[in-house]
């Protein structure tokens, strides 16, 4: 089981990524990433 665990986690994570991509998460990340993050730079 211990040897299989990373493979299972990898498969589940890949599934999460695909589901996220399908549901529009990538677009949400892109929208945030291409806007200057006011919190990051200290304006708030």
């Amino acid at each position: 089981m211990k040897r299989r665990l990373p493979f299972i986690l990898l498969a589940v994570s890949l599934l999460f990524m695909v589901l996220g991509l399908v549901s529009g998460d990538f677009r949400a990340v892109l929208e945030k990433a291409k806007t200057v993050c006011l919190e990051c730079i200290g304006i708030g």
């Binding site: 986690l9 529009g24 949400a28 990340v29 200057v36």
Partner: protein
């Protein structure tokens, strides 16, 4: 090429590769192309003028901050892309990116080269990164909402020294409209950055060891990831050279896959008996070619 020299090259090339949009420094703005939506497996602020990808910790906070708003609007966006990305990196290689390609880790290692007295990190501080992860990166963005139902990226806003260094200061210098809006929060963040910069001179990678939420997440995978450190207990003499050389002070022979290990492989290089190595499925365990204890002490 000697392994640590090779690692330096990886770190330098990665720092440039993740920040290759140089026009940003002339325009005083940031890169806005579609690849910016791709998360990078390192701590690199996406508001840095030259950043090409998305910081996974900033993205995770923003995903958490919008979960409840998305639920109320019946949108099915729960941050699965970012969570899945972190899971893929973690379950494949654990904290390997911290030691080999993280620009902020590289920056800390360079500052540590400044001649000065050197110190360790009290053990209790190592657990603080999990508090920063759980409270500032996940819970507060998820639970504290404004009037419109959205949360804030608390770690980015109140702590992240990489954001101040890579984005805040460059944009303040390059962009007059941003410079005009700076206030107390920027002063606070600059003070946090200054504190870390001083700490980095005296302590190896203090941010990675005590604060980094990305390191905290990837470190949780170290024990179970496909890429793993190995110790041959038959040849290990418990001489302690590995722990002495380890930049994050791990007892390598006891916990080779400790959550704090950044997998820089310095221990592998210094082991006089070649007892420390690493493995990956499909490849035989690899260790440095060193004599066995019997050969050294016949």
């Amino acid at each position: 090429m000697e392994l640590q020299k090779k690692r330096r090259w990886y770190q330098a090339v990665a720092a440039v590769a993740f920040n290759a949009y140089l026009p940003g420094f002339f325009k005083g703005g940031i890169y806005r192309g579609t690849p910016k939506g791709l998360c990078v497996p390192v701590f690199n602020c996406y508001s840095c003028p030259s950043a090409l990808g998305a910081c996974p910790i900033g993205s995770l906070q923003n995903a958490m901050a919008s979960v409840r708003l998305n639920l109320s609007l019946a949108r099915r966006q729960f941050g699965l892309y970012v969570i899945g990305f972190l899971g893929v990196v973690g379950s494949a290689v654990g904290r390997l990116p911290c030691g080999w390609i993280c620009p902020f880790g590289f920056f800390q290692e360079l500052l540590f080269k400044i001649p000065s007295p050197k110190f360790g990190v009290p053990r209790v501080l190592r657990y603080f990164k999990y508090v920063f992860l759980a409270v500032l990166t996940i819970l507060l963005p998820l639970l504290v909402l404004d009037a419109l139902g959205g949360g804030e990226p608390w770690f980015c806003k109140w702590v992240c020294p990489a954001g101040t260094l890579e984005a805040g200061i460059p944009l303040a210098l390059l962009n007059t409209s941003i410079r005009g809006q700076l206030g107390l929060l920027f002063a606070w963040k600059t003070a946090v950055l200054a504190g870390f910069l001083v700490w980095m001179v005296f302590v190896m990678r203090p941010f990675c060891r005590t604060t980094c939420p990305l390191g905290a997440i990837l470190g949780l995978f170290n024990k179970i990831s496909l890429w793993r450190m190995t110790v041959d207990e038959e040849t290990c003499t418990l001489c302690g050279k590995c722990q002495k050389e380890c930049p994050v002070g791990i007892s390598v022979n006891e916990t080779p896959n400790s959550p704090d290990c950044i997998r820089c492989l310095k221990c592998e290089k210094v082991c006089p008996f070649g007892s420390i190595g690493h493995e990956f499925p499909g490849r035989k365990p690899r260790a440095s070619a060193a004599p066995s204890p019997q050969e050294v002490h016949p």
